[in-house]
């Protein structure tokens, strides 16, 4: 029927289809558009114009696809596309964008916000002028204050200005002659309790007079402040009004000629700086290449060991002579069934040099996590435990798909068991398993949780600058660099730059993956 209406056109559909779905569709679409519009307004307030644009484009697309009949087929791929953009394209673009900025500790604010923070910074002179105050409110709720210095000089607020005033004028009325003004010009004095209720509004008052401002410093007093910094938008410099020093923006931070820096800094584009640092700063680059090498070794060894054990067990279970297969298989699946986080932590305890059960059984204090080679061995062993059930399962599945006749034919031809495995089973297995093995390699390449929980990347290699350890892989090293003591708090920019490099490596591996699976397909034709 769907195909039919596409051919016969809109009129036909109007008659055939019920009107209610259409109404519901319009209600839902307008509801969604309204929510999106609301979100856009919030996002505009947060100055996230990229997100606003993306949201607007998304909503327009959805509305178009659901309202235009010609776009009907797109209804099936649109949700997928939207998620693809939101979950894959956007993070990708965002990461690349961040990699070229200094976003991180000290550079969280936008430039405008950083200027606001600095311009909003006041200093009080050594011996500040303090004022007691009375707050007044009129019927409309407007607030005014009368400030009095210790010398008895009085000032009244008028909008944002502070004006000297003579309180003996007739408009100031003291009803009970207690020396305090009770009302003037329709304004009535607030009691202490009412002042508390209006603290938030009073606190926002910035009363300027001459070159200073006066603001509230406690519920009992106002204090005179001087502005500390002023931004010159033409010269793009920050001027320290107290000392006269000029600060110029440099890598996202206002810096004086003498090298003094004004915090907070702001998010700024710094070009290829992170990539240059990764290559040239020995504190980062020397460990980086070492870690790079171990990451490949770790991922490679993990795949080889888990696959070898998994395949061996699968072949064993595939033997029709073995009894109790179901029992063994269930037992061997257990490592896979326990959440990795828990089993890795348990393994860390088992391997403990001093109290671990492994050393107690062996009867020697083997420094599992203190010696680089042993720590790497422990890592590979634990990964073997975690990884072989997966390899066993996929191998079992793949073994089922190999036609039994091939084995029989080889048997009749007099092939030995090894020859049968080597020439028939293994090549046929690889057809379906090779892409999974490459996938497993890519997974282990980024196996952060295992490294982080088991060894924390340690032990440190003597003489290696920085915090990189013998078992650190790229992703755990990136984490250390960016979040765990890389030098300066949290560095999203640097982390993004390293992630891009990792992504390029993984991308290359995937490319090889596609090539490899193609090659193996030809093998099947040969057989």
């Amino acid at each position: 029927m769907r195909v039919g209406y596409l051919i016969t056109g809109p009129q036909r559909e109007m008659r055939n289809d019920n009107l209610y779905p259409l109404i519901l569709k319009i209600i839902l679409l307008s509801g969604m558009s309204a929510v999106a519009l609301w979100a856009m307004i919030i996002l505009i307030g947060m100055e996230e114009y990229w997100l606003v644009g993306a949201l607007a484009a998304g909503v327009l697309c959805i509305n178009f696809v659901f309202l235009n009949r010609r776009a009907y087929p797109f209804r099936y791929i649109l949700p997928g596309l939207i998620f693809f953009v939101a979950m894959v394209i956007f993070p990708l673009v965002y990461t690349v964008r961040i990699a070229f900025t200094n976003f991180g500790t000290g550079h969280f604010l936008t430039k405008r916000r950083a200027i606001e923070v600095l311009e909003g910074r006041y200093y009080r002179p050594q011996d500040p002028v303090r004022y007691t105050f009375q707050a007044f409110q009129n019927e409309a709720g407007a607030l005014r204050v009368i400030l009095t210095t210790i010398d008895g000089d009085s000032f009244i607020s008028d909008a944002e200005q502070l004006i000297a005033v003579d309180l003996s004028q007739v408009r100031f009325i003291d009803d009970n002659n207690d020396g305090l003004i009770d009302r003037f010009d329709g304004y009535r004095r607030l009691t202490r309790m009412e002042i508390f209720r209006n603290l938030a509004a009073l606190e926002r008052l910035r009363l300027s007079k001459d070159e200073y401002i006066v603001k509230m410093t406690s519920p009992a007093e106002f204090t005179r402040f001087h502005q500390r910094f002023r931004y010159d938008p033409i010269e793009e410099v920050m001027i320290d009004l107290k000392t006269g020093t000029i600060y110029r923006p440099q890598y996202g931070i206002f810096t004086s000629a003498a090298g003094e820096r004004l915090t907070p800094g702001f998010k700024a584009d710094i070009g290829w700086r992170h990539f240059r640092e990764i290559l040239h700063n020995p504190a980062i680059s020397r460990p980086f290449f070492r870690v790079f090498y171990w990451t490949f070794l770790f991922a490679g060894l993990s795949v080889v060991t888990t696959f070898a054990l998994g395949l061996f067990l699968a072949l064993t279970f595939n033997d029709p002579l073995l009894g109790g297969k179901k029992f063994y298989r269930s037992i061997l699946i257990i490592p896979w069934a326990i959440p990795g986080f828990i089993s890795v932590l348990i393994w860390a305890g088992l391997f403990n040099t001093e109290v671990g059960i492994i050393n107690q059984l062996i009867g020697h204090r083997i420094p599992w996590f203190q010696d680089p080679f042993l720590a790497r061995t422990a890592l590979i062993l634990v990964n073997l435990w975690l990884g072989f059930p997966f390899m066993m399962t996929i191998s079992l599945g793949a073994l089922q798909s190999i036609p039994h006749e091939l084995h029989e034919a080889a048997y009749v031809d007099g092939a030995s068991p090894w020859q049968r495995f080597h020439s028939i089973t293994f090549p046929l297995l690889m057809v379906s398993l090779a892409p999974l093995l490459v996938g497993s390699f890519a997974f282990n390449f980024n196996n952060f949780a295992l490294v982080f929980l088991l060894t924390g990347g340690g032990p440190h290699i003597p003489g290696m600058p920085g915090a990189a350890g013998a078992t650190d892989i790229l992703i755990s090293y990136t984490y250390k660099l960016a979040f765990g003591g890389g030098g300066w708090g949290i560095q999203y920019g640097l982390a993004s730059a390293v992630s891009i490099i990792i992504a390029l490596i993984i991308g290359t591996i995937s490319l090889i993956n596609f090539k490899l699976s193609g090659t193996f397909k030809e093998v099947t034709i040969d057989v």
Binding site: L28, L29, G31, M32, V35, A36, W38, A39, I42, M46, I62, P79, T105, G106, F108, L109, R113, V117, L118, M193, R197, L199, A200, A201, L202, E203, R204, M216, T217, S218, P219, T263, P264, E277, A283, I284, N352, T353, E354, V355, R365, W368, Q370, G458, P459, H460, P462, G463, P465, G466, A467, G469, K480, G484, G485, G486, G487, W488, G489, I490
Partner: protein, 401 residues
Amino acid sequence: MKKFITLLLSFILLVGITGTVGASVPGVLTIWADGTRAQILEPIAAEFAAAYGIQVIVHEIGFGELKPKFLIAAPAGEGPDILIGAHDWVGELTAAGLLAQIHLKPEEKELLSPVGINAFSWGGELFGFPYIMEAVALFYNRALVPVPPTTFEELITIARKLTDPEVGKYGFLWDAANFYFTFPFLSASGGYVFGVDEYGALNPRDIGLANEGAIRGGELILRLVKERIIFPGVDYGVMAGLFTAGRAAMIINGPWFISDVRAAGIDYGIAKLPTIDNNVMRPFVGVHGFMINSLSRNIVIANYFLRTYVFTKEIQLQIWRADPRIPTFLPAFLSPEVQADPDVKAIGLSAADGIPMPNIPEMGAVWAVMGAALGHIITTELSPAEALTAAVEAIKGLIRY
């Protein structure tokens, strides 16, 4: 229709993420605190609200989450008015422009411990109200060690007698590869993390972790390894487990461990760390305090709440009763009730010798690198001088970036 609903839900989710919980609202005080602190503050906040007509909302956030969340939320105007946290956040938060300066009157300043004030100062200005402090001290099992040692030589003599790893007995242990716990060894003879410049601010270019004093501390650790008193592979968990099992006689730990020891039923005592060659061991002092968000719209109210309400003897004692840590508010600390607690007294003495943990962000580079260097000393891969010198070079390299 399912698709519509899915799409709608995903948009609601998107909006939900950008929306917020626990943000500063004019006229209402919002506080972010970890679980322990939030529970203590709830009734205090309620009393303040009743007395002054200002609503106080306490949001409970995990301690580890507090700083990262604040760093993200506050610049977007979504932060709380008051953040309760550790003093070593001050550098990072101030560098991000997120903490309001606090101007204490001289008479207010006198009521707070100088160590606390020092800890919350940054560039000579104050950015938080310190309320408790903590430092590590010597925990000992009274059943094994009736009288705690006062010098390190005494400690070694006692430990040697009590150590027999073959039967799982240990005389003296601590998380030696953890710089936080091992710093007192390096500081005793003059090691320091960062020097102080002429304005009293910490100078990240002056690192004193490989000077003569620090290396002497390293040599002492090496001696403990060679005498087979401490062993590589003993980390915090192992140490804590052995002590609560009654299998470790003396350990270095902090006040957070007291409740665990009590729960384990160990007859314990806490003593000041012993002296090394007549020099006192100076542990890191951690101070917790109340910080005010610089972008808050309730700075005056927050100040008022803290000055005239929270920082009074009565409320500070109330906090102490709920969570016995060392108060930095002196009238509370000096009250007979607090002074009668032997644990607080011992840890207070330890903290009195202590050095506030550096609050500048450069400290981030120190932890991991020093942990690695201590690891090399303990495994005897490198001599203390080699390990510490290399570590200082590494820290300098990281700070430069």
